[in-house]
Symmetry: C2
Subunit: 230 residues, 2 copies
Amino acid sequence: MRFEEFKTLVSNSSAEIFEEIFAHRSASVKIKKAGVAVRNLEKIFDATLAISHQKGFHAMTLRDLSRASGLSMGALYSYFSSKDELLDLIQDQGRLTVHRALAERIEKIPGAAEKLTEAVQTHLYLSEIYYRWFYFSYMETKNLSKEQQQKAIESELFTEKVFIDILELGQREGVFRPSDPRLTAAAIKALLQDWYLKRWKYTRRKITVEQYAEFVLEFIRAYIDTKGVA
Amino acid sequence: MRFEEFKTLVSNSSAEIFEEIFAHRSASVKIKKAGVAVRNLEKIFDATLAISHQKGFHAMTLRDLSRASGLSMGALYSYFSSKDELLDLIQDQGRLTVHRALAERIEKIPGAAEKLTEAVQTHLYLSEIYYRWFYFSYMETKNLSKEQQQKAIESELFTEKVFIDILELGQREGVFRPSDPRLTAAAIKALLQDWYLKRWKYTRRKITVEQYAEFVLEFIRAYIDTKGVA
DNA sequence: GTCTATACAACGATAGAC
DNA sequence: GTCTATCGTTGTATAGAC
């Protein structure tokens, strides 16, 4: 699938995200009017991701956030009860969005080789669209509470499991040669994560996400395919 | 080379590190006696890396550092003039140590295939020994001054260049098949960095650094070698 | 629902005794 | 060379007017 096509698919469901936070976290969000709450939650999340991308969540002050979001300090506290809770809110929401998109797209596809292509593309395309969240999620893990850190670890292992399952299926099918699925899946994840962790490098070199996806797939296939490189 | 052998080679030159900081940065370090300064600089660096590993440099307070290093707040300021300068000090020192070790070991070796093995092993072994510094360096990049961020980018590109040169040499030699050296080098770096970024995962799975080095080399060779997998 | 004004704790940094 | 005591600032969070 082409990136442009994927993008329109995702952006259609993107508006629902903030309505979902509002519905799920009404305990924290003290605002009653859904319209107002949804609009401001989006402003707050965007501003938080933007500032944290520059200098990190911990270095972002609530005065920074107030300025960037256009809401006063007092108003901010109508949407979360502490700075740490804001961190949790963003993490939870991001994971929900990403896992859902990943799981939905892969289970439909039959055949290990085709699943692998789909999974790699979906992960890269998603991280291209939500790249600030992916970066944020990676870099702020150690600032989380123990409970939330556990969720982050589970999330890492969940994504890895998707690839382990595909690799094992392919070995049973005979299209992938025998190798340690866990080490290979870990390597695949490392290659996928480099796309958003080193975004400055790929942007500078004018590599598109489609070109990178193509390269990563060739790189992986050279190692796992039973036949040689095409 | 085996990791244990590498370790003894490096640890012999490891004691000189802090004497070198003391010599190079006497403008910041106000202490006159070399013996005292070297001993305390080591305590300060170790404590900073340990605390930052847990909760990040920005979240580490100087009271934390005082407690962990065993020096008072006042004494700390005899070794650096601000918290930001401490960050620079550690970054500079780490880069110096790593670049020197990397360059020294690779230029001696003839032949692209052998250079590649040596470079991968050296990078992984170094990051195993100085893993807290590697992790620190990666995660704290965006907390640096613009000037220091530039140095971090140059450092990333320097390491990558080592691999680009090896790949191009191998293509001229005819032992590596034609491919984009920059994309391949970026992928190699991603695999090397995963070792210290996801240390918890590999520790949990009881993967040793030698096993990981072996795996990474096989993974890379499958893509770049002219002949198939051995 | 949003604002301004403010409380209060914790921070980096320094002065001066020893 | 290191300590304790303290300064001024900045951070998160809240109270109460509108």
